[in-house]
């Protein structure tokens, strides 16, 4: 009996060819994202050390050990502080500067370029510069504060508990605001000018226009920016690792997981921490996806 093949429409044929072009990318993504994530998940249930032969199933012991570790609990606290304050700091600064750049003034192009610099400069270069600027012995910030008469003894910015976390937070905001600024600026430029003109005719001042036109018009951009900024900041590593190595109580979950895995060589406990980080990130991603779906329905 001859095999009957279903005749495909031109569109179906196109789709099939299109899907085939996607397979290499899907395979690569599976290898570099899905596989390591699954591998870490499995690893977190084993005793798995690079200095020991073999791996032993230990069920939830790694999670039990990690959740009892005071350092991990502090790092969760720091992560939330760093992610939320960092994200809102970037949004507020980004918003202020975007509003400024949305106005016409001489030198706007130069100002825009200069304000983008923190995002453009290579991370290692800018962090090395911050490291020196915040140095407790020769840091330019100390010198300026001292010359202004605001301090009598130099502050050890990255070596004092509390101050160190505030400093890495500030550097994180400085490095991340340009991205937010650009997103919000794009949103501002899409608001029709007629709305403001109509509001002016109706007698609304600048503040009322801001709260009744600008903010509602930007709500979609702002919601996405806030969630994305929290996710990105939650995932931060460079700033803290390069400035303090997690010292002076500045460890966040990512840096501590790295330390456990690659410095202490406890891959298993590092994996348990990473899975926990993934859990938190999944919540934020869920919120983000839900918000996007609601926006598209509206």
């Amino acid at each position: 009996m001859p095999i009957l093949r279903k005749k495909l429409s031109l569109e179906e044929k196109d789709n099939r060819i299109g899907r085939r072009f996607l397979y290499p990318a899907i395979i690569v993504l599976l290898c570099i994202i899905a596989f390591p994530v699954l591998y870490s998940f499995i690893l977190s249930f084993f005793r798995w050390r690079p200095t020991e032969p073999g791996h032993r199933f230990v069920a939830m012991k790694n999670y039990y050990d990690v959740y009892r570790d005071e350092r991990f609990l502090i790092s969760i606290f720091n992560t939330f502080i760093y992610a939320f304050i960092g994200a809102f700091g970037k949004i507020i600064l980004g918003m202020g500067l975007a509003l400024l750049l949305n106005k016409k003034f001489p030198g706007r192009a130069i100002a825009r370029t200069l304000l983008m610099l923190p995002w453009i400069i290579p991370v290692t270069a800018s962090l090395t510069a911050w490291n020196w600027m915040l140095d407790g012995m020769y840091g330019v910030i100390n010198i300026i504060l001292s010359r202004m008469g605001l301090i009598t003894t130099y502050i050890n910015f990255l070596g004092e508990k509390g101050i160190a976390l505030a400093c890495v937070l500030m550097v994180g905001i400085w490095m991340g605001y340009p991205q937010m600024m650009m997103m919000i600026l794009a949103g501002l430029q899409s608001i029709p000018g007629e709305l403001y003109e109509a509001a002016e005719v109706e007698g609304a001042g600048k503040i009322r226009s801001f709260f009744y036109i600008t903010i509602p018009s930007l709500s979609g951009v702002l919601k996405t920016s806030i969630i994305l900024s929290i996710i990105w900041t939650f995932n931060a590593f460079n700033v803290i690792w390069l400035l303090t190595r997690g010292g002076s109580s500045t460890h966040i979950m990512n840096t501590l997981a790295y330390e456990f895995s690659f410095i202490n060589m406890r891959y298993d406990k590092g994996a348990a921490m990473s899975v926990t980080i993934l859990f938190f990130l999944a919540i934020f991603l869920f919120i983000h996806t839900k918000m996007q779906r609601e926006d598209s329905l509206q």
Binding site: Y23, Y39, T51, P53, G54, H55, G139, Y154, G159
Partner: protein
């Protein structure tokens, strides 16, 4: 074998989940084709490699990326001469100090080993349980065990197998400003003790050194007496500073019965000394955030009076630096009540039992030859490295050392590792890399903890690792 099976089983499980539940028929077909192509390419590539002879394959040697140009030249020359003699290429992979451990751990976990490494952190002992390290008794026996101190061989012997060969030593030295000390009234002419070793009056113990530091300290002019990093960013420098003081006061991580002993009376006394140094104000407060190069840079820049470091400073001083070579005084490493001990592992050679093993063995033997080492020292000079092998030490090249070089050479005998005074232990070695000592310094300087509390936390960490 079990490890390999276990890993393959995990890969198989993950793949099966994808295959059965996440992929549709048409996707499966295309994935299968892509994987067949990948496997075929891998097989062709792997097949090509196995047919190469020892001489065709280069020996991959990992080592620290030295800041001193002459060191790089000396190793390059040794590699080139070895290639000319044997036809085997030497491929040096020079890794920054701070990244070495991480890179090595990642590579070993991934099963991609270098053929050999030259490093001073006992990787052979650390990875002794993995079966990845080649025992090297045969090479040492061939050269003659008498050429190496028994102590240094013991440092690298685990369960009867010698896993590393002592190569040279980077003598960590106590660098001081001769002009500052002289201005404070110290005599910088060396005295000689009954064993023939140099010493300086008033600069022999940690207590005496702290007194001297107070005299030369001048923070109002930005000049500090002591440049000790109290920071986890100065991995290595801060750990060795802390460990050296603790052990000089008689502390050890374990006692003779294998019980945790780092909260002993001696350890607390050592921590008390560290706290006294910090509270004396002779160390800049910024030392809590220093990295590995800060103390060197500040010393060379003329702002610090004393630093304890591996000797990269001597090679960097010249007529254009703020501190001139004649301003440098190497002080014999200070002692505590239990003696004078320096945390300084010898630079050792570790060979892995996978890859170009024969090439690595041949290059190791070549590097250990007297004439090879003498020609290396002729290029790099004395100071950054000091010889360990008896025939090299007795070579006439080392008969005319100056005052500072003699102090460096005599201090090499004070080197101990973290397991001291007991047998090497892989878990304790890992502790050294895990900020145990660095964090103790931070607790004192940043958190203001008292010595008892710091010792108790250290004991807790050691207990966790030992019982883990």
């Amino acid at each position: 074998m079990l490890t390999v099976l276990n890993e393959w089983y995990t890969v198989y499980t993950i793949f099966t989940i994808f295959w059965r539940y996440l992929m549709k028929g048409s996707v499966r077909k295309n994935v299968a084709i892509a994987m067949m192509v990948l496997f075929s390419l891998s097989a062709v590539y792997a097949g090509g490699n196995t047919e190469k002879s020892v001489a065709d394959k280069p020996v991959d040697v990992w080592m620290i990326n030295s800041p001193v140009e002459t060191i790089i030249s000396a190793f390059d020359a040794a590699g080139e001469n070895f290639t000319a003699e044997t036809g085997i290429e030497v491929n040096y992979v020079r890794v920054p100090t701070n990244d070495f451990h991480t890179k090595l751990v990642s590579s070993i976990s991934a099963g991609v080993y270098p053929d050999m490494i030259i490093w001073n952190s006992s990787p052979g002992v650390e990875f002794s349980q993995t079966g990845a390290v080649l025992p090297v008794d045969e090479i040492v026996n061939e050269i003659g065990r008498g050429q190496f101190g028994e102590g240094s061989l013991k440092m690298f012997t685990v369960d009867g197998d010698l896993l590393e060969i002592p190569f040279m030593v980077r003598p960590a030295g106590f660098h001081a400003r001769k002009d500052w000390l002289e201005a404070a009234g110290y005599n910088t002419e060396p005295k000689i003790d009954s064993d023939g070793y140099y010493y300086y009056e008033g600069l022999q113990t940690w207590e005496e050194l702290l007194e001297a530091a107070k005299k030369i300290n001048d923070p109002s002019n930005g000049k500090y007496a002591m440049g000790f990093a109290y920071s986890r960013k100065a991995f290595g420098d801060s750990a060795s500073f802390c460990m050296s003081i603790l052990y000089s006061y008689g502390a050890s991580l374990l006692d003779e019965n294998g019980n945790v002993a780092i909260d002993s009376k001696e350890a607390i006394e050592g921590l008390e000394m560290i706290r006294k140094i910090w509270e004396s104000g002779t160390v800049p407060s910024a030392a809590t955030t220093w990295d590995g190069g800060s103390n060197n840079n500040f010393f060379i820049g003329g702002d610090i009076g004393m630093v304890f470091n591996s000797n990269s400073i001597m090679g960097k001083l010249n007529d254009t630096t703020a501190v001139k070579p004649e301003d440098l005084l190497m002080i014999p490493f200070p002692s505590g009540p239990a003696g004078s001990f320096m945390s300084a592992n010898p630079e050792s050679i570790t060979i892995f039992n996978k890859g170009n093993v024969e090439g690595a063995k041949a290059f190791t033997k070549y590097l250990l030859k007297e004439e090879t080492q003498v020609s290396m020292f002729e290029i790099m000079g004395f100071g950054y490295y000091s010889p360990l092998k008896k025939d090299v030490m007795e070579n006439e090249l080392f008969s005319n050392l100056n005052q500072n070089e003699r102090v460096l050479m005599q201090d090499a005998r004070k080197a101990i590792n973290v397991s001291f005074p007991y047998d090497p232990n892989a878990k304790l070695n890992a502790l050294y890399s895990s900020f145990l000592f660095d964090d103790a310094l931070s607790r004192i300087a940043v958190d203001g903890w008292n010595s008892e509390r710091v010792a108790a936390e250290m004991a807790k960490k050691v207990t966790e690792v030992i019982n883990d």
